[in-house]
């Protein structure tokens, strides 16, 4: 099912784990002959425990129940199909990522709360694009957290991407400026900006991100072309608030869902899709540089239901 070229065994394993824990049970639920009240209750429990969130869960179930009754559906398996369709609707229908479009220089801004996996994701993305023969420049714009620059430098080396860095506590704007300048000068394909983790409620820190965006935009037309919010799959409903704030400030264009190799389901992406219309672009499935895969909504939802 997943043939993204690398890390696929691990990816499969991790998704299997996800399936078997919570969503795996859904299939068993749908295995009966009749659609009962109990089935709906169990379904509600399962979705909520997957961090789908109360509101989204109730809405999903209401829609599915409505369709089940109006379409005269009597078999649990058909109800499952409808549920899948409705869940898929919340994740699908987006234009493909614009990172792959031809342009002078593609700029990707990576943002998120502290510890969500930004730097590691950037390492993975670098490797991903390096393997496609693209040249990648990394901007070490997290000048705040202790040793964040060293961390990115190590990853840059492993991924074969050059890292533009200043001193700790230097102005992140200046780092972004230099990195893009360097990217243009050496005719690189992609510049990826690593930013310091910040809670979305911190007004000044969010303003700083806005500034970084402005700096990128002045140098390259329509930059940053993609602004990725890195989201820890272990996060609960607060992820919606994160996505909302980051969208308001820097117009995030996509989400990277990390740490899916754990037991967390990342169900909150349904709410994000529903309320903000932001697509998931990649998922992180481990700490290694190959543990990344492009998000495939169909595969994701199918994977949740498969035995």
């Amino acid at each position: 099912m997943f043939n993204f070229g690398f890390g696929s065994k691990k990816i499969k394993e991790s998704l299997t784990r996800t399936r078997n824990s919570v969503f795996g049970q859904i299939t068993t639920l749908f295995g009966g002959n009749e659609i009962t009240e109990e089935l709906w209750d169990d379904l509600e429990a399962l979705l909520i425990q997957a961090d789908v969130g109360v509101e989204t869960t109730l809405e999903l179930l209401e829609t599915v129940r409505g369709r089940v009754s109006s379409e005269g559906i009597t078999k649990p398996l058909d109800a499952q199909r409808v549920l899948k369709e409705e869940m898929l609707k919340l994740l699908e229908g987006y234009a493909p990522s614009v990172i792959d479009k031809q342009r002078i220089l593609t700029v990707v801004l990576v943002v998120g709360v502290n510890g969500s996996g930004k730097t590691t994701t950037i390492a993975k993305l670098s490797k991903f694009y390096r393997q496609q023969g693209k040249s990648v420049v990394l901007a070490a714009a997290d000048t705040f957290r202790a040793a964040a620059i060293d961390q990115l430098k190590i990853w840059g080396e492993r991924a074969g991407a050059s890292v533009i860095a200043h001193q700790p506590n230097a102005d992140p704007g200046a780092v972004v400026f230099d990195a893009i300048k360097s990217g243009l000068a050496r005719k690189a394909d992609i510049v990826i900006i690593d930013t310091a983790g910040r809670l979305h409620t911190k007004f000044n820190l969010m303003r700083e991100l806005e500034k970084l965006r402005g700096i990128a935009r002045k140098q390259v037309h329509a930059a940053p072309h993609e602004t990725l919010l890195v989201l820890d799959a272990t996060t609960g409903q607060n992820a919606v608030s994160q996505a909302k704030h980051f969208k308001d400030t820097v117009e995030i264009t996509g989400v990277v869902l990390t740490k899916l190799d754990g037991t967390a389901k990342g169900g909150v992406v349904f709410a994000i899709g529903k309320t903000l219309g932001v697509p998931v672009r990649f998922v992180g499935v481990g700490e290694g540089i190959d543990d990344l895969m492009p998000f495939d909504a169909q595969a994701f939802v199918d994977g949740l239901f498969d035995e």
Partner: protein, 448 residues
Amino acid sequence: MFENLQDKLQGVFDQLNRRGRLSEADVDKALREVRLALLEADVNFKVVKSLVGRVRERAVGVEVSKTITPGQQVIKIVHEELLATLGDAAPLNMGGGSPRVVMLVGLQGSGKTTTAAKLALHLRKSKHTPLLVAADTRRPAAIEQLKVLGRQLDIPVYTEDASVPPPKICANAVKAAKSGANSVVILDTAGRLQIDEELMDELSQIKANTHPQEILLVADAMTGQEAVRVAQGFHDRVDLTGLILTKIDGDARGGAAISIREVTGVPIKFLGTGEKVSELEVFHPDRLASRILGMGDVLTLIERAEEMLDEEVAERGAKKLLEGNFNLEDFLEQLHQVKRMGPLGKVMDMIPGMGEITKSISQEDMENSLKRTQAIISSMTTYERRNPKVLNGSRRRRIAKGSGTTVQDVNQLIAQFRQMQKMMKRLKNPRFQKNLMSMFGGGGFKGF
């Protein structure tokens, strides 16, 4: 969403009798809202179930007293149950001989390294001589990160080459602490998934090698339903002794704390409240309970106020309030103070009952309304400010004209001021002060 449980429950109970006993049907209706609020706050589904069950048992048949509404009665029980689940704050166990060992464990990115530095600083303040140990050899530059933090704080950091197995590093560090006269050793271990057998074995080995007094789970306040599984996983392997909840300075409701407490029973020791090494706080169960219920964070607000406000001005205001002669002049002075506390929206969010308001009013509207209030009061004479009672129709018209507002605006302000005075009178009531819950009633905080 479920910003304000109090209002929701009020809505439920408005249709019901305000007196008598809580019937099963009343309670079930109310508990539906409670359940939703708790789930929305990320309390684990199963934990919510058992909690709501406990509340139900206690609430059915309870006599509703005249002084509080049925909604408040239910919230009170919920609040009490949450408090019981959260337990009391517990200090670090620093008993036994030197060096004591504190081991930090948790998922990737939960905040262990920063917390290690914070704990070291905290312990040094109480005359300990901490040694930080860089036992995360996996994440690139993790060792360097701890070194930098140690340098900033002037606290020693024990490191070895990243090729040395962490259990060995930790054992060596404890030896070094003995000879170096460090009274406490803080182990910063690598983040790991609780299902990673190999890495969980490593933790067991570290534990066996160092016999920690404290094994603290460092968990992100934003954690969702997984909190239960994560906490259980770590607890099963290393027997946790406590919990530190990080990143509580955001807007996460922090329901994970309830989940983790319920499955492990270990006390919550600290909260991480910011990125700075000084931002580690003692845990207050009542604040967290209110926050989880989405009822604002009055105490944090008060604390913030204490930090930001001009003490003298605040005290003058408080004194006048208590004496019962707080007037519009003082009101204006206090408004200036409020403005210093930062973006109004954030301040409002912390006030119970304000959640809904902040949703419906934009930040700009709020700032404007504050400006309008200031303009109105500024257009009053000193006499009027000190004696709001004299504000009759013609005076109000004049003030409206002078401030570029309408008479309705002026009327509204005066009405709000009266309400505030009324509320302040209640504040003086010792029973009110004893019972935090009353703070959530009456909607007295609405408007200024």
